[in-house]
């Protein structure tokens, strides 16, 4: 049972990872905790249904279209909501994302209804045996994506011009500006990236958690906890945090009882922050919220 609980926990953790990574990316470059991140993914999932069912597109045509729409949503939120209040304090920005969360919830419910919907299944439902444990193709795919995206983002921030510019903005926006880095564009790019990650999260999660305006609420909370767990600035930390929370929840559910599953995630974060206030990988001191 232990092995299976760990494997299922990793599968659940990979669900949290994509959201955790997006929370980190936005926070690193804008110092905003984006409460609407889950809803970006929810909108992406609904759009996925529209493209697959209404327009009868196949999965591989649908995916880039959803990514495009989701990135556009990120850009719109930045231009219409966040940029006009960019110079205000973190609480105002945080509250603005809460507003976006409620608006997107309302719009999705109004356009697509409140009922839970099935996402056209794209994976074989039969289990696959991995190291003597069983995992579904969908979960395996999610885990692979979580690792791939983590890796791609890590390389992007480490080695590309735009990634390095983003890190410069993270470290010191004023100096970055003086050095000729287009800070506003970098912030815009960050929100587009949040949309990009949300598109993946929405499409990958939809067959597992089903599609409804509330589909990402629980995932967002766990994704945020994972991001804090990893130190809020670290992408590998967020992924590791998400996987650890998934496994810990499952082990708690399996050995202590289902009632302890959610409590375990929060107990972990409390214990970690007590001994390591900056999270697992939050080594450098920065302006904290």
């Amino acid at each position: 049972m232990f092995g299976q609980q760990v494997m299922s926990g990793l599968a659940t953790g990979s669900l949290y990872a994509l959201t955790a990574v997006a929370v980190v990316v936005v926070f690193r470059n804008t110092r905003v905790i984006n409460l609407a991140q889950g809803d970006f993914a929810m909108i992406a999932a609904f759009l996925g249904i529209v493209f697959l069912k209404n327009f009868q597109l196949n999965y591989y045509l649908m995916l880039p279209l959803v990514i495009l729409c989701s990135m556009l949503l990120g850009v719109l939120v930045e231009r219409l909501v966040m940029r006009p209040i960019a110079d205000t304090d973190w609480l105002t920005l945080f509250t603005a994302t809460l507003g976006v969360y409620y608006i997107l919830h309302g719009v999705a419910g109004w356009v697509w209804g409140r009922d839970t919907k099935a996402f056209p299944v794209t994976f074989d439902a039969k289990p696959i045996s991995v190291f003597g444990t069983l995992v579904s193709e969908g979960h395996l795919f999610n885990m692979a994506w979580a690792v791939c995206i983590g890796l791609v983002l890590f390389l992007f921030f480490k080695y590309t011009k735009q990634g390095i510019a983003m890190r410069a903005v993270t470290d010191d926006p004023e100096t970055a500006k003086l050095m000729g880095i287009p800070v506003r564009f970098i912030v815009l790019l960050t929100w587009a990236m949040a949309g990009f990650l949300a598109a993946f999260a929405g499409i990958l999660l939809a067959p597992i958690v089903y599609v409804s305006p509330e589909m990402m609420d629980e995932v967002l909370v766990k994704g945020y906890v994972a991001a804090v767990f990893g130190g809020l600035y670290s992408i590998p930390g967020a992924i590791l945090g998400a996987l650890m929370i998934g496994v810990a929840e499952n082990l708690a559910g399996g050995y202590l009882g289902a009632h302890y599953k959610t409590a375990t995630a929060f107990a972990m974060i409390v214990v970690l922050l007590t001994f390591r206030p900056k999270g697992l990988f939050g080594i450098q001191a920065r302006r904290e919220i």
Binding site: G113, T116, P127, V209, E214, A258, H259
Partner: protein, 399 residues
């Protein structure tokens, strides 16, 4: 002087006015005017169990139909629904507003065990009739008040019946249980415990889940590992779908019987038909393809007012409460519409066959009785999901 002369006159006028208006005020209760009657309902219109909002839609379809026919005895019915997201604190706020601000005459066809458990005391204290609430939690069904008319039998009785089903139909000696960690699931567990003793079945494990839980994998792994040879799933449609998906993922073939409130086309839609193939479901209504005119009328009304809805048993829960209410209102005739008269009239409904329930028989409650005497839907039967459809299944003791 003038003041002295006019004061007695003024007092007399006020006294006469108050005497003459008192009987008028006492004629109809709150929420009733010459033109309409206001009834209210809390529903999970959004949230993780929003598929249960079908109950509200079913109820609304019937009320719309009644109003289109000219209402009842010259009055139309105003049916006010509010979204509580199946969150008891929200339900408490909503019901307070219904009673104190909106002045609802009765709460009809609301949904949920946990929400109803949170507000039933308040509703009864305010002497507002609660008719056809979709809850089988002990507290709500065994409530000692004439104001409560539960929709269906308590979950504990269903729990006991499902153990019998597991033993006699699924041939189980050891069962595992997955239950919703709220009053509905806990009531089922009470009945299951009784059934275990009564039918000599062993329970290997009972796993709870939270209604909003993202996945139930840890519970299902534990259940599979426990060596149970059958499962009782006390699950709502969305969590049930997650359970069947997980069970399929683990290649676990143990037969399952699901409680009636999880019987929904949403389950195979979300989990995939293959994952639900062969699962038994308890049910308290006739199937939608039953030729009974009452069922076909409900189907037509649903199609008319909610064309996007796929007919589901939960729609019929809603139809039941409002159909019984409108029947009582009809029987009350042109006389004063008061809550007391409504209760007396409801208690007088015997062998009434014009609703979606084959036979409504509401008993009169004695001083020591509980609201179970007021049940609108008695009895339970079974269906099995096979070849993409729910098909009737007769348990040996029902033959």
């Amino acid at each position: 002087m003038l003041y002295r002369r006019k004061l007695p006159l003024a007092l007399a006028t006020i006294a006469i006015a108050s005497i003459s208006t008192t009987p008028l005020a006492a004629q109809d209760d709150a929420g009733v005017t010459d033109k309409d009657v206001l009834i209210c309902s809390y529903q999970p219109m959004t949230g993780s169990v929003s598929s249960y909002f079908r109950m509200g839609k079913g109820a609304d379809a019937w009320i719309k139909h009644v109003n289109e026919q000219g209402g009842i005895n010259g009055r139309t019915i105003e049916f006010k629904m509010a979204d509580d997201k199946y969150e008891p604190p929200r339900t408490a706020d909503i019901v307070k507003r219904f009673v104190e601000r909106n002045k609802c005459f009765a709460i009809v066809a609301p949904l949920g065990s946990a929400p109803t458990s949170a507000v039933i005391d308040y509703i009864v204290e305010n002497k507002v009739p609660l008719i056809g609430a979709g809850t089988g939690a002990d507290k709500n069904v065994y409530y000692k008040s004439r104001y409560v008319f539960p929709l269906y039998a308590p979950y504990d009785l269903e729990g006991t019946e499902l153990v019998r089903f597991a033993k006699e139909v699924l041939k189980a000696k050891k069962i595992a249980v997955l239950y919703q960690n709220d009053p509905s699931g806990k009531s089922h567990m009470l009945g299951i415990e009784v059934g275990l003793k009564k039918f000599g079945v062993e329970m290997t494990v009972a796993e709870g889940y939270q209604p909003k839980e993202l996945d139930v994998s840890s519970q299902v792994i534990k259940m599979k590992d426990s060596g149970a040879d059958a499962v009782i799933c006390s699950c709502a449609p969305e969590p049930a779908a997650k359970f069947y998906t997980e069970r399929q993922k683990l290649g676990w073939k143990a037969p399952v019987v699901n409680v009636f409130f999880g019987k929904s086309p949403k389950v195979p839609e979300l989990a995939g038909k293959e994952a639900v193939e062969g699962v038994y479901f308890a049910t308290i209504y006739r199937e939608w393809d039953d030729p009974a005119p009452q069922i076909q009328q409900a189907k037509a009304l649903l199609k008319k007012y909610y064309p996007e809805e796929e007919p589901d048993a939960v729609h019929l829960w809603g139809f039941t409460g409002v159909q019984v209410f409108t029947e009582a209102l009809k029987r009350m005739g042109k006389g004063p519409i008061t809550r007391e008269r409504l209760i007396e009239t409801l208690e007088g409904i015997k062998n009434w066959k014009d609703s979606v329930v084959p036979n409504v028989n509401i008993e009169k409650m004695g001083p020591d009785d509980t609201a179970i005497k007021h049940l609108l839907v008695p009895g339970m039967s079974y269906v099995v999901y096979k070849g993409g459809n729910f098909q009737g299944f007769k348990a040996p003791w029902n033959e």
